[in-house]
């Protein structure tokens, strides 16, 4: 039987390497720093309180992410945050490609114009159920199976949410990129007219 101090040390050793990933995920879920910081504190307090039930040698990373996502849903996710779920048609609808800058394909233009700000804005724009799956698998690198365990949903649901999440994310990114290209085009016209 471990003493309290030994338990604390084991907990800390397992926790510290995950802090960065937990914080990023908390930020993407809450979409604001203050709530993300409170969510982190609450998650860690809950995890330590439940640490007796954690079986050493099993997946600590998935275990603590499960506590984070549950804490978020129970304590932070308010009705006012609920976003209208887009219809399947809206998700499948392709965004029309604007003519990109000369010599580049629309895909190259997209990859070249996107900034970190666009990417974070796009991730945070998608409804929570898709966003969580996108963040856990595509950003944090959890497998579909681990994501299913963390969110306590079937693996098939992870796959369909991920598919839709990807579509929504791409749609948002194309829109930002098209917007930038249009602004650039308008700027060019303005310069030509002025001269």
């Amino acid at each position: 039987m471990k003493t309290k101090e030994e338990r604390k040390e084991t907990f800390q050793n397992l926790l510290v390497p995950e802090l960065g990933a937990l914080f990023r995920t908390a930020l993407r879920m809450t979409r604001n720093r203050e709530d993300a910081e409170d969510l982190m504190q609450e998650t860690i307090a809950k995890a330590f309180a439940a640490f007796d039930r954690f079986e050493e040698g099993t997946n600590f990373r998935a275990w603590i992410f499960k506590i984070l996502t549950n804490t978020f849903i129970n304590n932070y996710y308010r009705v006012r945050d609920k976003q209208k779920l887009p219809s399947l048609d809206e998700m499948e609808e392709e965004t029309a490609f604007q003519p990109a800058f000369e010599g580049a394909t629309p895909e190259e233009a997209l990859l070249n114009t996107l900034t970190r700000e666009d990417i974070i804005k796009a991730i945070e724009s998608i409804p929570l159920e898709f966003r969580t799956v996108v963040v856990l698998t595509l950003v944090e690198g959890f497998s579909y199976k681990e994501t299913a365990e963390i969110l306590e949903i079937p693996i098939g649901t992870v796959m369909s949410r991920l598919h839709r999440g990807r579509k929504l994310l791409q749609k948002a990114l194309w829109e930002y990129s098209n917007q930038k290209n249009t602004e650039k085009e308008n700027g060019r016209e303005w310069t030509v007219k002025k001269s």
């Binding site: 309290k4 604390k8 907990f11 800390q12 926790l15 802090l19 960065g20 914080f23 990023r24 930020l27 993407r28 910081e37 982190m40 504190q41 860690i44 307090a45 330590f48 895909e107 997209l110 990859l111 996107l114 970190r116 990417i119 974070i120 991730i123 963040v135 698998t137 595509l138 950003v139 690198g141 497998s143 579909y144 991920l162 598919h163 990807r166 994310l169 791409q170 990114l173």
Partner: protein, 75 residues
């Protein structure tokens, strides 16, 4: 594997998920021969890699680390 199957399996391949060794080989052989699928794959690969790299920013602030250390010390 034909172009339709490539599109269906592309995300599984990109996510390193549940393709058998045989499927993986068939996927790669098709990409090597089909320019259209190869371009689509390259775009998807670069896009998701860009999203991952950017999503991994946001280092944890020092103030939060100190606050969490205090929480742990209080256990």
């Amino acid at each position: 594997m034909d172009c339709k199957e490539i599109v269906e399996k592309m995300y599984l391949y990109l996510d390193h998920e549940i393709l058998t060794e045989e499927e993986r080989r068939a996927f790669e052989e098709h990409l090597a021969l089909c320019r259209q699928c190869c371009q689509k794959y390259e775009f998807e690969r670069q896009l998701w890699s860009l999203i991952r790299q950017n999503g991994l920013g946001d280092p944890i602030p020092e103030t939060l680390l100190n606050r969490l250390q205090q929480v742990i010390a209080s256990f």
